[in-house]
Symmetry: C2
Subunit: 370 residues, 2 copies
C-alpha cells in the first residue's frame, strides 16, 4: 500500500515556498521543473540518465499524443507509462485539452466535450472530461489533470467567463471520473484569463471539489510579458497554502524565478528541450546561439559555471560543429545541458528559499537570465 499523496510546506520566504510532494512513485522537492516527455520520451535523453545525471524528479506526458500513439490501452497493457518508458518516478499527464485546441483539426466544441480530427491520420475522436480522466488512469499518471478549455488570448471578460465556467463544469465531471488510489492525485485547473474576479470565481469552484493540487492555466498563451508577470502572483495568491501550485507551460528562466517568488511550486515547459534542438542554449551569461560563427573555434565550455556532462567534456567548437552537421549527438548534448540548466536553477531557488536568501538570489539571477 502506497503512502497517501501529500504536500508538506517545509519553509517559506516571502511568498516563495519550499515544499515536498509525496507520491506513489517517489517524492518531489519543490519548487520543481518537469521535463516534457511528450509522446513517452523526453526528447534526446535516455530516461535513466534523466534520473542519474540530471536528477529530474518528475516528468510530464502529453495525454493527447499518447492517446493517439501508441494509444492509452497499449500503454496500459504494457504496464503503464512508467514501465513502458523505463521512468520509475512520478509522471504528471496533462488532460489533452490544450493540444486539442492547438494541434487538432476541425474541432467541434459542445457542453459534452470536443470532437476533433487526428493530425496523424484524420480519424475522428471525441474527448470529454470523463474520457480524458480514463485515459490518464490507463497511462498510470501519478498526477492527473482535470480536462479544461484553454481560454484564448485576447478575449473579452464575457468570453473568458463563459470559457472558465465551462471548464469548471468539466472540472466537476473530471473529479467525479477520478478514481482515488493511494499516492495518486488529481489537480484542478484555474482559468479566467487576466480577470481577477474570474480567477477568484474559478478558484472557489475548484476548492469545492477538493483537488489534491491546483494549476494555473491559460497563461503564457500570447499575452505580453508584463501582463503575464502581473497575472502570476494574482492567480497564485488565490490558491490554498496547503496544496501544490502548478503553473502550466511556463516558461523562460526569468518567468520561473518570478513565479517562484510569487509562490508557485511546479513548472513544465518545452523550452529547454525544444530550444536545445534549434541550438538556443541557456547559460549563466544569458542565451547563446550555438550555430553562430563566433563559436566555430571556441575551445570553451557552453556555460563557464556549469557542471553538466556536456560542459565537462565538450567545447562550444565541437557542439557548434555537431549542430551544423545536424548530428543526433548535438541534440543529445545540448538537450542535456539545457535541462541541467533548468533543473539546477530550481535547485538554486530551493536552497535560497531554505536559506531565506531568495530575494537576493532571484534579483541577481534576473540580471542575466531572460
Amino acid at each position: 500500500m502506497n503512502a497517501p499523496f501529500s504536500f508538506t510546506l517545509l519553509s517559506q520566504s516571502g511568498q516563495a515556498r519550499r515544499g515536498r510532494i509525496t507520491t506513489a512513485h517517489g517524492t518531489i522537492e519543490t519548487p520543481i521543473f518537469m521535463p516534457v516527455g511528450t509522446v513517452g520520451s523526453v526528447k534526446a535523453i535516455r530516461p535513466d540518465l534523466l534520473k542519474t545525471e540530471l536528477q529530474a524528479q518528475i516528468i510530464l506526458g502529453n495525454t493527447f499524443h499518447l492517446y493517439l500513439r501508441p494509444g492509452h490501452q497499449t500503454v496500459q497493457k504494457l504496464g503503464g507509462l512508467q514501465k513502458f518508458m523505463n521512468w520509475p518516478g512520478p509522471i504528471l499527464t496533462d488532460s489533452g485539452g490544450f493540444q486539442v485546441f492547438s494541434l487538432a483539426k476541425l474541432r467541434k466544441m459542445s457542453e459534452d466535450g470536443v470532437t476533433f480530427q487526428s493530425p496523424i491520420d484524420g480519424s475522428t475522436h471525441h474527448l470529454t472530461p470523463e474520457f480524458s480522466t480514463q485515459i490518464q488512469h490507463a497511462l498510470n499518471a501519478t498526477i492527473t489533470m482535470a480536462f479544461d478549455e484553454c481560454t484564448p488570448y485576447p478575449c473579452t471578460e464575457a468570453q473568458a467567463a463563459e470559457s472558465m465556467r465551462l471548464s469548471m463544469r468539466w472540472a466537476q465531471r473530471s473529479r467525479s471520473a477520478f478514481i482515488q488510489r493511494a499516492g495518486y492525485a488529481q489537480f484542478g485547473i484555474q482559468q479566467g484569463s487576466l480577470f481577477p474576479s474570474l480567477r477568484k470565481e474559478s478558484t472557489e469552484k475548484l476548492l469545492d471539489l477538493d483537488f489534491e493540487g491546483y494549476a494555473i492555466g491559460g497563461l503564457a498563451v500570447g499575452e505580453p510579458s508584463e501582463q503575464l508577470h502581473e497575472a502570476i502572483p494574482m492567480a497564485a495568491n488565490l490558491l490554498p497554502q496547503n496544496k501544490p501550485r502548478y503553473l502550466m507551460g511556463v516558461g523562460y528562466p526569468s518567468d520561473l524565478i518570478k513565479a517562484v517568488l510569487a509562490g508557485v511550486d511546479m513548472f513544465d515547459c518545452v523550452l529547454p528541450t525544444r530550444n536545445a534542438r534549434n541550438g538556443t542554449i541557456f547559460t549563466c551569461e544569458g542565451v547563446i546561439k550555438i550555430k553562430n560563427a563566433e563559436h566555430k573555434e571556441a575551445d570553451v565550455k557552453l556555460d563557464p559555471q556549469c557542471t553538466c556532462h556536456t560542459c565537462q567534456n565538450y567545447s562550444r567548437a565541437y557542439l557548434h560543429h555537431l549542430h551544423k552537421e545536424d548530428e543526433i549527438l548535438a541534440h543529445i548534448l545540448l538537450t542535456h545541458h539545457n535541462l541541467h540548466f533548468y533543473l539546477t536553477l530550481m535547485q538554486t531557488l530551493r536552497n535560497a528559499i531554505e536559506n531565506q536568501t531568495i530575494q537576493t538570489v532571484a534579483h541577481q539571477l534576473l540580471q542575466t537570465y531572460r
Copy 2:
C-alpha cells in the same frame, strides 16, 4: 614518449587470428569492429558511453567529411580529433579516397590526385596522397590510411591493373609523406579487384614500403556475396602474418565471421549504426524490422540473449513506438543495441579463437546471422 605501434599475434586457430595492437592511444584486442564516426561523432552515441557501456576500442573517422567540415586545421587547433570529440582512444581515419569517388561531384582524376567539388557548397578541392596524409596528421589519426583509388566493380582485368598500379604509386607517395611518431601507424591498401595476380602484385608493392599494417580495399563494392566470400581469403592470405589486416567497409555479421575465419583482424562498417536508424536490428535470432506491426504490443527484449542497456530496460513495443514517432531516443537506443551486437560478436569470436573453438562457434553463428 609513447610505446611503439605494434601487433602481437596471441594465438591462431586455422587461419583465424587473435591479436593485440598497441598504439599511442591504447591497446586494441583483435579481431575488432570499429564503429564509424563519420564527421566526429558515432551517430546517436555519446563518446563516453561508447567506451564505458559498449567497450568500443577504436573508432573510425572519415577524412573527406572532417576535411570539409569542420576542417582539419580547426580540429588540429582544438587538440586533434580525440580531444575534439572526447574520445581518448585510438582512431583510424580513412584516406578520403573512397568518399571522393562515391560522394563528390565533378571529379577529375590525374596522376597527381583528384580534383572534386564539395557536395556541401560546390567549392573546388584537390586531394593528393600527400595532402590526404597531411590532413590525417592534422586530425591526429592513430592509424593513417594510404590514399588510393577504389577500383569500381565490375571492371576488366586491364582496368583493375591500371587502377591498382595508380594506387600503388599513390601508396608510395603517401608513405613518403607520413611522419613517423611513436605509437602511430600508417596502413597500405591492397587493391586488384577480384584478380588474384593483381592482388599479389599489389601486396608485393606495398610490402616494399613496409607499412605498419595492411588493408584489403576494393571489396564489398557491388560484387555478388559469393565472389566477396571467395575474394576475402584469397586477399588475406597474401598479407604478412606479423602485421594487422583490415578489411575495409565490410559488412554483415556473416561477412565478419567468414573474414575472421580467413584471418582478418579489423573491420569497419556503417551497417550497425545506419541500420539502427532505419529500424533494422541485428539479433541472435536474425534481423528484425522494429517498425513491423507484430512488435506493437510485444513486451519482450529486442534480442532475448542480449545484455545491452537497451535490451535490459526497454521492450520491443516501446522501441517500435519510438521508431514510428521518429523520436531521437529510438536512434539512441537502437544504435546502442546494434553496436553492442557487433562488438559482442567480435568478443565471442576472440574468445573462440583463444579456446580453439572458432570453427564450431562460427558454424553455429552462421546458422542464424546474415
